[in-house]
């Protein structure tokens, strides 16, 4: 049975890797698209990050970012790409539950559910953008 376990472990690894790569590729593509618009529009303006002003409210939370990106605002599109990037490790954990379940590995399924619960609690908890 050892070879069977290795084979399925290998399969989970392959799928986790593909999922991570897809998430990174999608987010890099969206950020790059936003970057083109952003640089065409603001490329020659002076860059200044000395003083912290914080982002405007439409770039701070999910709803505002989606709205801003829908209107093809360059900064909104970049921010949407960053949201896809943030979602990638979360999706990886969520998928692993399914992967370990397919392998009938109850122990690691439980571990992963615990990780996802704590992760979502911190991600969606008080003071969060989501």
């Amino acid at each position: 049975m050892a070879w069977l376990q290795n084979w399925t472990d290998r399969r989970i690894e392959e799928i986790v890797a593909d999922l991570l790569r897809a998430g990174v590729t999608i987010s890099a593509f969206v950020v790059f698209l936003g970057a083109c618009f952003y640089l065409l529009r603001y490329g020659h303006a002076p860059a200044d990050y000395r003083v912290f002003q914080g982002e405007p409210s439409d770039l701070r939370n999910l709803r505002g970012i989606v709205h801003s990106a829908k209107q093809f605002r360059s900064r909104g599109i970049i921010q949407l790409g960053l949201l896809c990037l943030i979602a990638t490790p979360v999706a990886r954990v969520a998928f692993s539950i399914w992967g370990f379940a397919a392998e009938h590995d109850r122990l690691y399924m439980t571990f992963t559910v615990v990780v996802l619960t704590i992760l979502l609690y911190s991600l969606l908890g008080s003071g969060s953008a989501f």
Binding site: G23, V24, A35, G43, T88, P89, F111, L123
Partner: protein, 278 residues
């Protein structure tokens, strides 16, 4: 400096951050935060936001390769993530009671000592340890493609590693940076996991730790699209190069690079603790 020049320069700096981050399992923040704040005069809060983005980008980008090639051990990663995510929650709670300045200085000194410890390669006896009961029960033992072919390893001291990982999570909740260093040290020094497996598994894990606090940073307005864009793209490109270097590099060299980056991080922590910028 206009935005176009700024973007290109930040992207180049981020490339180096991504390269070192993916090679050492520390993420890009170690290089990125001082680079942005000192060289580009960026406010520390924007730099922290950009650093968070860089950690998730290095982690996810490089992990795709490391997992596929059989370096990262996803069971070790998943199990220890319980400790780091719990620790991060605890750290955020403790922040109200702990002096982060004193903590940063203590952590910095610890890192300098760890830099000295982690340079030493393992002896052949230290590489062939008997299986540990708990690690075997948790199915953590595995193999990876070393320079001399596929090598098996037996994980040791799981409770110590779990405890240190809790500390790593708490530190990231308290200081916002540096959890990758404790992750690598816990796996390498305490759990006796081969160095390449330790750094790549840490790399696999740091994205989750960072994602947990992303919602709060985004809501506080720390994540600026104009700054995070060149950081993310540069870091991703750098981490892709790092992946290919790690696969071929000798562990001895990687240990040296790791301990040099630890010295940098330790110095940074002590400095920030003394001037109170943390």
């Amino acid at each position: 400096m206009n935005i176009l020049e700024f973007t290109l320069l930040v992207a180049m700096g981020s490339f180096i951050a991504g390269l070192l981050g993916s090679l050492t399992g520390l993420g890009g923040g170690v290089v990125l935060v001082p680079l942005l704040t000192i060289f580009f005069k960026v406010d520390i809060r924007y730099a922290i936001g950009a650093s968070l983005v860089s950690v998730i980008a290095t982690s996810s980008g490089a992990a795709a390769y490391y997992v596929k090639q059989g370096f990262s051990n996803i069971r070790i990663g998943m199990f220890l993530e319980i400790a780091t995510t719990l620790g991060a929650l605890g750290g955020a709670f403790l922040a109200a009671f702990v002096s982060t300045r004193a903590l940063a200085i203590t952590f910095g000194v610890m890192l300098l000592y760890s830099a000295y410890l982690s340079r030493r390669p393992r002896t052949p006896e230290e590489r062939n340890l008997a299986p540990d009961k708990l690690a075997t029960g948790l199915r953590m033992n595995g193999s990876f493609p070393s320079e001399e072919g596929v090598r098996n390893y037996n994980v040791q001291h799981v409770p110590a590693g779990f405890g240190l990982m809790f500390g790593a999570g708490a530190l990231s909740g308290l200081l916002g940076i540096g959890s990758g260093a404790v992750k690598v040290l816990a796996m390498d020094q305490a759990m006796k996991i081969p160095f390449k497996v330790s750094t790549t598994t840490s790399n696999f894990m740091i994205g989750v730790t960072a994602a947990a606090s992303a919602g709060v940073y985004l809501n506080r307005g720390y994540i600026d699209p104009g700054l995070s864009m060149p950081v993310m793209l540069g870091v991703l490109a750098g981490s892709m190069l790092g992946v290919h270097i790690l696969m071929r590099a000798e562990t001895r060299i990687l240990r040296l690079v790791f301990s040099l980056v630890l010295v940098l991080l330790g110095g940074q922590m002590i400095y920030q603790g003394i001037v109170g910028k943390i």
